[in-house]
């Protein structure tokens, strides 16, 4: 079977959606052909097919990008706003939080904002404190937003199609370290529904709940722990919000143990919400307290030695799983 990279998969999903619907447009810094099709080349080749009216390179103006996409969405367009790096969403939070997320509700359902905010980030490439943050918890706290992050190329393609088709705003988080990842090519018109987690590996002793790049770490650790006789189930949430509680609870009900893992800062992260919800639903059935793993409580550092100390390590994930196994009630 042929392979496809995450960049190619995202490009294909956007290409397919643009071919299908004239209302799909892309706005972002450097995204058009003249600028090389985006810093990460996700929109390469699209200007040639769809023209500069639909692939619009913008000034460095995040508020204007997001506002324009919100406004176009209100008339039935399905804009994609590319915010080059996730930290830059802080510049246009007003448009996302006060407008995109709330206009459907505040208008009593008269208007809606079918918008996709594409953005990328990631710890591990030495980009430092203002180019690496995972800020999904900020958005998950806002009613009206959906948050998606793929861990592999096939899901990236399928989730992007679903995000563009969604009639509400979707924050679509890509990870720089995953752009080159190859998956089996899912073929054209592949759609992965929003709000559905995937069981990335089946197991019976402990469930790791994660999303995005750390799914890869979890799968590797699960393989290694299997050699020690520990059977780990890995759940890839794919959509962080709305949260697929049914899939998570079914797994943890089976294993009785859970580790929540993410790259974002651990404190006040989505892991806290997930752990709390597992406890609310399964208190008394758990064989150990839910463990949480996330980034350290500091800015993401530049030096590789510090960066590796900042993110959850595979050894750390193993220790967390073992601690749930060894817990004495």
């Amino acid at each position: 079977m042929s392979k496809i990279s995450m960049v190619q998969a995202l490009n294909r999903a956007i290409d397919e959606a643009m071919a299908e619907d004239e209302g799909v447009i892309l706005l972002g810094e450097d995204v058009a052909a003249k600028q090389g099709g985006g810093v990460f080349k996700v929109s390469a080749g699209l200007t040639e097919k769809y023209g500069e009216d639909r692939i619009r390179a913008t000034p460095i103006s995040e508020q204007a990008i997001m506002g324009a996409c919100v406004g176009a969405a209100l008339t039935g367009f399905r804009p994609i706003a590319e915010i080059m790096l996730m930290n830059f969403v802080t510049v246009c939070m007003d448009q996302i939080v006060n407008h995109a997320a709330k206009l459907r509700f505040m208008s009593g359902g008269q208007t809606n904002v079918p918008l996709v905010v594409r953005t990328t980030t990631g710890v591990g490439v030495g980009f430092g404190g203002q180019h690496s943050d995972m800020l999904e918890a900020w958005f998950a706290h806002v009613p009206g937003l959906k948050i998606v992050t793929p861990s592999n190329a096939a899901d990236a393609q399928g989730l992007m199609r679903a995000a563009i088709a969604c009639n509400d705003p979707v924050i679509f988080i890509e990870n720089i370290l995953c752009y080159g990842l190859q998956s089996e090519d899912p073929g054209p018109n592949h759609i992965v529904p929003l709000g559905k987690a995937a069981v990335a590996r089946e197991g019976s002793d402990c469930t790791i709940i994660t999303y995005g790049r750390t799914v890869l770490d979890a799968l590797e650790v699960a393989g290694q722990l299997a050699e020690e006789g520990i059977s780990v189930e890995v759940i890839d949430l794919r959509t962080i919000a709305p949260y697929d509680e049914a899939t998570v609870l079914a797994s943890v009900r089976k294993t009785g143990r859970a580790v929540v893992l993410h790259e974002a800062v651990k404190a006040y992260g989505t892991g806290a919400e997930i752990a709390a919800r597992i406890n609310e639903a399964l208190f008394g059935q758990l064989k150990a307290p839910v463990q949480r793993l996330g980034g350290a409580f500091s800015a993401v550092p530049m030096a590789n030695a510090l960066e590796q100390a900042w993110i959850p390590t595979k050894d750390g994930i193993k220790s967390a799983v073992r601690s749930t196994m060894e817990w004495k009630l």
Binding site: R54, A72, L74, H99, F105
Partner: protein
């Protein structure tokens, strides 16, 4: 200006003026408890602008935008029910006065965040440009909104893309409690148009004929594909930031000077000069007052929204109870 247009402007102006009186009296009498941003003094500028556009042209406005919505055509009954927080309001009581939305009359967004409407207006105009639907977008804001970054980003992008949008600055001389000269060093907002290579128009907003001519010129420019316009209409906010708020910071002599420029008596005189009779004007106002009375009754007799509404319109799909 022909009599038909003048009559249209007068009717829109008086709908704004009588509604402002009505809402203030409902608040004073204790019948309505709500935060209300009166636009007393700004009725004519928006009436003339809305007389120059079509019902399906888009409008983006702000919390001090009830006059813009009324002049654009939002029906009083739906507006009043929304302000009173009723299920029959434009937004089912979920938006309120600061978030009136009524796509049927082109009112796409009313924002409570100063300056946020400008980037959104660009998006509405961008969709019109791509669709070639011939619509223009009117984006209303005050002088206070011109010092937030979104203003600069939006004007630059609008000109870059040659969008059919009119940035309609109703310069009412105050940004909240701060006078124009205390927040901006240039003499007028319109001088900033040059910084974006944009067409700028500056007009005395209390002069109906000049205001309408400026609005029509801006609309023609935007609609014919010549790009956006920054239109600055000079007017005056004759009361405080919100109704009931202390406005002793507004110098009494300046208030008196600006009151002499009140657009309402000036417009009335213009109507008489154009051979409209006192009786005809009284009849127009009586009809508006009857509509407002009916709208008030409709609002107060309407049910409140139910708690299930908290689960509806968050997303397209209802949130499970």
């Amino acid at each position: 200006m022909n009599r038909e247009t003048l009559l249209d402007i007068y009717t829109r102006t008086m709908r704004c003026a009588r509604s402002d009186e009505t809402l203030r009296s409902l608040i004073i009498s204790g019948k309505l408890a709500t935060l209300y941003y009166t636009y007393r003094g700004q009725e004519l500028v928006t009436a003339a602008m809305m007389a120059a556009v079509n019902t399906d042209d888009y409008l983006v406005t702000t919390y001090r935008g009830q006059h813009d919505q009324i002049a654009k055509g939002v029906p009083f009954d739906l507006l009043y029910a929304e302000i009173a927080g009723r299920a029959t309001g434009t937004c089912k009581g979920k938006g309120g006065s600061m978030h009136i939305t009524h796509p049927a009359t082109g009112v796409m967004v009313t924002t409570g965040v100063v300056g946020s409407g400008l980037p959104i207006a660009n998006g509405l105009a961008l969709s019109s440009k791509n669709r070639k639907d011939g619509k223009v977008t009117i984006c209303c804001f005050g002088d206070g909104a011109t010092n937030i970054g979104a203003f600069h980003e939006a004007l630059n992008m609008a000109q870059l893309y040659m969008l059919p949008v009119i940035f309609f600055c109703q310069n009412n001389r105050y940004g909240e409690h701060t006078a124009f000269a205390d927040h901006t060093k240039v003499d007028s907002i319109v001088t900033r148009a040059a910084a974006y290579g944009m067409k700028g128009i500056h007009v005395d907003g209390n002069d109906a004929e000049a205001m309408y001519a400026a609005a029509a010129e801006a609309v023609e420019h935007a609609r014919s594909g010549k790009g956006p316009v920054l239109l600055e209409a000079m007017c005056y906010r004759m009361m405080g930031h919100f109704f009931g708020a202390d406005f002793s910071y507004m110098p009494a002599d300046h208030v008196a000077e600006m009151t002499a420029e009140d657009p309402l008596p000036k417009l009335r005189q213009l109507m008489l000069d154009h051979q409209f009779t006192e009786a005809e004007l009284a009849e127009i106002v009586a009809k508006i007052d009857a509509d407002l009375e009916a709208a008030t009754e409709f609002a107060f007799n309407s049910p409140f929204p139910g708690a299930e509404e908290l689960r509806i319109d968050v997303f397209e799909e209802e949130i499970a109870a």
